[in-house]
């Protein structure tokens, strides 16, 4: 099984370490400010139906974010 490389590919309750954040500068900064920084651990809590938003835990908070935004969070190999 391939190791997930992006937050959007993580399975429910699976954890991983964040690598870099890509995407549009304004989105990237906001993701950083919300605690998605390189080296932080992130865990997927739930996925909404039909490719909807993801809920994940990062730095002690639970954050919901759009799947496309989660795709911008790359994971460490």
């Amino acid at each position: 099984m391939n190791k997930p490389t992006r937050l959007s590919e993580l399975a429910t309750r699976q954890s991983a370490m964040i690598g870099t954040i890509s995407g549009h500068p304004s989105l990237r900064s906001r993701l950083h400010e919300l605690g998605f920084t390189p080296g932080a651990t992130v865990r997927l809590v739930a996925r909404a139906a039909f490719g909807g938003a993801l809920a994940c835990q990062v730095r002690g908070s639970t954050i919901a974010l759009r799947k496309a935004d989660a795709w911008c969070v790359e994971l460490q190999a």
């Binding site: 950083h32 809590v45 908070s61 919901a64 935004d69």
Partner: protein, 623 residues
């Protein structure tokens, strides 16, 4: 720049969304602002006098939550502006004397970096640590003395719900305000990725030193989330919550509505029996009591709507709802953050338009503002109640709930189409802000908070609507009675409108009630009540319905309120932007052009679609 030392101090409360700023503000100033378990509940600043201290003269400012000192949405801009433009909100200085940074003890890893940013920007500040009681219960409290030592500024633990620790917080404020040195703070223009990373690493280190090791509080996935966010059950819960919300409005209110109705009928009968027949009695009974009674009947529905919304707000479900709704909303160009504004627009469009400030993307925010007036606000409930009596067969009253649900569904359909078409027509560049929202911890709604807020909101509704209805009912009675009942001013105005009303299948009486509805939509009901009272029916709402059933076009025996014309009216009220207060708020939140264009477009569309509905139904053979 040196702040004058003799004056009252200016203290600004600042912190991440949902950290508990408004609760603290209420304790410090003795205010009673609604506090809500949803990030983004406060979208405007408030200023209040510090009442909790005997020795310190100070003004306290509450602000919307911010994630960093670089704003990304309008509500964050409002908060940041209070840090450097206090003079614009009536204070005699530009920057506050002291910032009270509110930090949620259940998520110090994410809330502490803001403290560092604020210190780096050069603002004098102290820390209020909230929700440490929850953190303690779960074995991970923040050592507040150690935190204060490490930060080099005072930090005080305070419980926003009970007010425990308030005395200590006030002494810390007094102490800090005594020894303020002139500061020259400056906001960062932007923050580099590295700065943000370093701030988080610094916070991680701080947490290691003042919080016992262990799993963060959010690490356990709560059972509620397992269900509420589940791909399948989540949708079931969502559908159940929304259905329950609107079902309770319809059915739980029924007995209260009957009582209110009988009460006003009794008052009307009492007044007409005890006063001699005169023009004044007629004004009182046919104008004021009939007009006010027709709308008062719907206050129980409105109160229950506010109560149900309050329960959702206080539990923490709203953010989950936003997460689940994001997918569908994004299909028509909206955002998960549009969910709460759109939901609250079912109560009133005005706070909803302000709540749209939390939407970071300009295009998504404008589209949300565009469709907010299409949501069925509480002022429309009286209108639905009256019109549904004509659409639902008398022997099948259970169809009423179904019909009301269809109206709400129809409003969603219209809103989706409007957002989609608006997205194509309004040439606003798309923004790349995506959708992110913090999911707060679940909590049991506090009975007191929910009831008090529903009470305040209902009372506000009664005051606002009551005054308008009183004024309009009296004015309306005058227009209907002078110069003579046969040739009154209202008849003349109605005659002029007749060509426009003909396609909708209604007569001049409905036309003037539609005009009166521009004062407030519910006035449509009281205006009709006045029209038909004067033409000789009794006062209660049932009496109004009876009178409407018998109403015919002048000089013919063709009925005015048929299935087709009533369905047309429902469509008209769903779309028409008749509320001038909404237009005023839209103007403030957007521009003259947007607000006036929106009003003109929705009124024209309402007329066209209402006419199509009526004429279409008639073509199908439904009168």
């Amino acid at each position: 720049m040196n702040a004058p030392l003799t004056d009252a101090r200016a203290i600004v409360l600042i912190g991440p969304p949902n950290a508990g700023k408004t609760s603290l503000y209420n304790h410090l100033t003795g205010s009673r602002f609604k506090t809500v378990n949803y990030p983004g509940a406060t979208v405007e600043f408030s200023v209040g006098h510090l009442r909790a201290s005997a020795s310190l003269e100070a003004e306290v400012v509450d602000t919307p939550g911010i994630v960093s000192l670089v704003p990304r949405s309008l509500d964050e801009q409002v908060a940041i502006d209070t840090l450097v433009h206090l003079d614009r909100i009536g204070q005699n200085r530009e920057t506050p004397d002291l910032l009270l940074v509110v930090v949620d003890a259940t998520q110090p890893e994410r809330h502490l970096p803001l403290v560092r940013q604020i210190q780096r920007a050069g603002f004098p500040c102290i820390v209020a640590l909230t929700m440490n009681d929850i953190a303690r219960k779960r074995g991970r409290p923040v050592d507040v003395n150690r935190l204060s030592e490490l930060l080099g500024i005072p930090a005080v633990e305070v419980d926003g719900r009970s007010g425990d620790g308030l005395t200590e917080l006030v002494s810390a404020l007094e102490e800090s305000c005594r020894s303020i040195e002139a500061a020259a703070p400056s906001l960062p223009e932007s923050s580099s990725d590295e700065t943000i990373w370093n701030d988080f690493l610094w916070a991680d280190d701080l947490v290691r030193r003042c919080v016992p090791p262990g799993e963060p509080l959010h690490a356990k996935i709560s059972t509620l989330d397992r269900v509420a966010l589940h791909p399948v059950f989540g949708l079931v819960v969502f559908a159940a919550v929304m259905t329950g919300l609107f079902w309770s409005v319809f059915s739980a209110a029924a007995p209260f509505m009957d009582w209110t109705e009988s009460f006003f009928a009794w008052i009307g009968a009492l007044v007409s029996a005890s006063l001699p027949a005169s023009w004044f009695t007629s004004l009182l009974v046919d104008g004021v009591i009939a007009g006010f009674g027709a709308v008062a009947v719907f206050v129980p529905q409105i109160a229950i709507l506010f109560l149900a919304l309050g329960l959702l707000e206080d539990s923490g479900y709203l953010a989950r709802g936003a997460m689940l709704a994001d997918r569908v909303l994004s299909l028509v160009g909206l955002n998960g953050k549009s969910f709460v504004p759109l939901l609250s627009a079912n109560a009133c469009a005005i706070p909803a338009a302000m709540a749209a400030r939390t939407i970071p993307g300009r295009k998504e925010r404008m589209l949300t503002l565009l469709v907010i007036p299409l949501m069925s606000c509480s002022a429309r409930l009286p209108v639905w109640g009256l019109l549904l009596a004509f659409l639902v067969p008398r022997d099948k009253p259970w169809l009423g709930g179904f019909a009301l649900a269809s109206i709400y569904l129809l409003s969603l359909v219209f809103a989706s189409v409007a957002a989609f078409v608006g997205g194509k027509l309004l040439r606003i560049p798309p923004s790349y802000t995506g959708f992110q929202v913090e999911l707060p911890l679940w909590r049991t709604p506090t009975f007191r908070t929910v009831v008090v807020s529903a009470w305040d909101r209902t009372l506000g509704y009664i005051q606002r609507a009551g005054l308008t209805i009183l004024g309009v009912s009296i004015a309306f009675w005058l227009f209907m009675t002078f110069p003579s009942q046969q040739h009154s001013f209202a008849t003349m105005a109605g005659r002029i409108l007749e060509p426009l009303l003909a396609p909708m299948g209604v007569d001049w009486r409905v036309g003037i009630a539609l005009i009166a509805a521009f004062a407030a939509r519910e006035v449509f009901v009281s205006a009709l009540a006045v029209v038909y009272s004067i033409q000789g029916a009794d006062q209660s709402s049932a009496g109004l319905i009876q009178a409407m059933r018998q109403a015919t076009f002048d000089g013919s025996n063709q009925h005015v309120f048929t299935f087709a014309s009533t369905a047309g009216l429902v469509v008209f009220f769903l779309i028409a932007l008749q509320c001038l207060s909404t237009v005023a708020v839209m103007r403030r939140e957007t521009s003259n052009r947007f607000a006036l264009g929106q009003m003109a477009a929705f009124i024209a569309l309402a007329w066209i679609l209402a006419s199509i509905t009526t004429q279409g139904l008639r073509l199908l053979g439904i009168p």
